[in-house]
Subunit: 223 residues, 2 copies
Amino acid sequence: MRIADLSRESGVPIPTIKYYLREGLLPAGEATAPNQADYSAQHVRRLRLIRALADIGRLPLRDVRRVLDAVDDERLTTHEMRGIAHYTLGRVPEESATDPAMVAALAEVDTLVTELGWRVLPEAPARRSLAHALVTLRRLGRDADVRVFTRYARVADQLAAWEISRTATRPTRAEAVEAVVAGLVVFEPALVALRRLAQEHHSARLETPAAKRRPRGRRAVRR
Amino acid sequence: MRIADLSRESGVPIPTIKYYLREGLLPAGEATAPNQADYSAQHVRRLRLIRALADIGRLPLRDVRRVLDAVDDERLTTHEMRGIAHYTLGRVPEESATDPAMVAALAEVDTLVTELGWRVLPEAPARRSLAHALVTLRRLGRDADVRVFTRYARVADQLAAWEISRTATRPTRAEAVEAVVAGLVVFEPALVALRRLAQEHHSARLETPAAKRRPRGRRAVRR
């Protein structure tokens, strides 16, 4: 197809496509005439992945390139490639690494991860996110141990086992990376939103005045 | 105690305490002399709650006041009070309410919530968050039904039932609100971080090259 068809098919404007071509994010089409090239379904798929990473994953182009390089590097296993996408998309701001509360919390997170038997690289950004949550809990005045998160870890473990087994069957490398994008920008906020909705429901269930729950019964003594 | 002691005890600077007094967020102490007042443990607790909402929950003072008013209004049940804190802390930016994709997604979320049997107010901000996740999933090119979230909803349901039963025993209204703050600013990011760590672990488990898993066995044929 010509560049105009590629634009229509992918929904990406022609000037943007030309920019991606110049930057080397999108491979050149097959030259069919001095000023014309032919593009394939491969190009449509690559554009879709670039848009997922850049527009929806909000990655700067430098990071889009890093993920695309991982997709193209066939020496990397799907796990390694998924790891690069995951860490690039999930990067968290550096905390002041010298803050003693943060240093202590990070060591506790390492202990928890070891106790759980999880194989996670030392540089995983989510370790820092979890340590930060622990520091915040202590700032709230709670004298909390990292094991306050154990129940959440078990829930996360079961959920992730199911998610990974499901996405592991994605046929192409690009689709595996798109699943990482969806996991972070769709299913993560969805889980958070659903937990909030479920909390409201269970709070209501627990505390509905007895009078409302049993309209014909006597009024409960408790307010 | 005097204002200097109150400041030391709570960690809040005296000028900030005076500001909260002027704004009516903190009730006046008991006057003991023309220019002196006596503060109690009640004041320390209230300051702690204000800090939790303002510093850790990042609420503007107007919203802090709204939550404190709910804490003080004894006609509200704990559930109602918790709801005000939850909605105020969990507010999400208004999406363009006229975007047809968003309008459709919101209707689907309503259907899901009804199917789950959850009692959740129509104005719950998390409904919009979930609808937004669905719209994003479709922008990623997935032809997804809202039921793609059902498994997450079940996980959230079980987790929330446990969380609410645990925090329902908080003895005071202020502590119930502090638990809402912790739920949103600590346990929510913690759950997200743990899911990311667990995903890395399960991805590694699934795809470790056979040669590494069985160091003494023969190399697997698959890469």
